[in-house]
Symmetry: D2
């Protein structure tokens, strides 16, 4: 059992979103934040960095949004659904844009292929949360 | 002239949003992130902390979203309008929710009054950006 | 194989720290950042929140330092050992202070017990990195 | 009077560091975080990006450390001097490394000159704090 799961199960308040979907999304957000930070940096170390400018940019943005989203979803006290919805929508969007850009370089750079995978997983986890949060 | 303004004026790429609105929003995001971190902490130090739980929560969320938004708007290379729009919408929402909550405690706690002001300014700066970004 | 591990193995530059210790520390930093954010929030939702003020404070600080450290260690391009050393030292310190505080509440709050565990693991991973980085 | 100053003056607890030095450092941290994010991005948009790899790297690290430091110094409740010292030392180090690197490109890129200035100001503000915090 991960620390994140134990933290959620020992929280004193009622968890506001289905626990499985929430855990998957928290985990995917921190994982994607790490992959995107690493991918922006790996791109920066490549000889063809000039071809990877947009990839570096979208990875940096995606990492920032994922950190904010992972933290906000980690909080269950006085949960505000409309705020959660807005940041999870932004996160899904950032993951989509970044995943598509990384995918374009997946044949040349393995780190872009891996990062695209992390982005897609996070985008799907965000969509799952959005389907359970009232509009 | 602030460092933020100088950074924007010396950027090699064409800036994608009207410069005045962009600068105001970048500045408001970092300012609001600081105020919200400080207000959550000041609330935590109050004798009536039990009345301020929701305020602490919304301040923490707002600070996280403001940091992400301030950073993303600080980047002009390969700007992605739809990603900017999504995070600025989330930021406006976080500032609205947090500003309203802080406002409720403004009569009892000066730091909540000041933080509500920072939130409102940031919310307005976000709305200004949104009015210039295509949907 | 985790995304973090794949990202490290596909990085174009030579990794500057022993890979196993580096991966363990990156993973522990993001994990501890999540646990600390969740523990600060869980404490905030407890009836005896007044007893947990210092715990909330140290969890917030520890989360912030862990995010910065996890990101910096995720970057291998133009690695600067003295900067890595300084932030990893700060992270070890934050984890020690926070872990000790959480431990004090471990008998009353399971989330504090779990968070103390995440802090200790991160502190140890930081110490391991420090032992391999030249002073 | 800035929001940061008002937040500090309305805080319920005794401020642990000389208020003028503390405010200057909080302000410099958020300002430097913004400049470094913007400079990394401006470098990424330059034709000679290949010459700026180390500059981009140090700017990203410096921005991350400055955010963590600015937030931690913004908290006065249950202030922990040894934790503050560790993160401010890391911040001074990050600003020194980044400021020196930006300075090397100041003749070719105005944004590097401005960012070097923001880094130096933040490094000095950190040193000022360190001189007042017991070792």
């Amino acid at each position: 059992m991960t620390h994140a799961q134990q933290m959620l199960e020992t929280h004193p308040r009622t968890v506001s979103v289905e626990a499985g979907a929430l855990l998957a999304c928290i985990d995917a957000c921190f994982d994607c934040a790490q992959s995107c930070t690493a991918c922006a940096d790996a791109c920066l170390g490549e000889d063809d960095v000039g071809m990877l400018i947009r990839c570096i940019r979208t990875c940096q943005d995606c990492s920032d949004v994922c950190i904010a989203t992972g933290r906000i979803l980690s909080r269950q006290t006085e949960f505000v659904p409309e705020l959660a919805r807005a940041i999870v929508e932004a996160c899904a969007q950032a993951c989509r844009v970044c995943g598509e850009e990384c995918e374009r370089h997946a044949d040349h750079h393995e780190h872009c292929r891996v990062c695209a995978e992390a982005c897609r997983r996070c985008e799907e986890a965000c969509e799952e949360i959005l389907s359970t949060l009232a509009a």
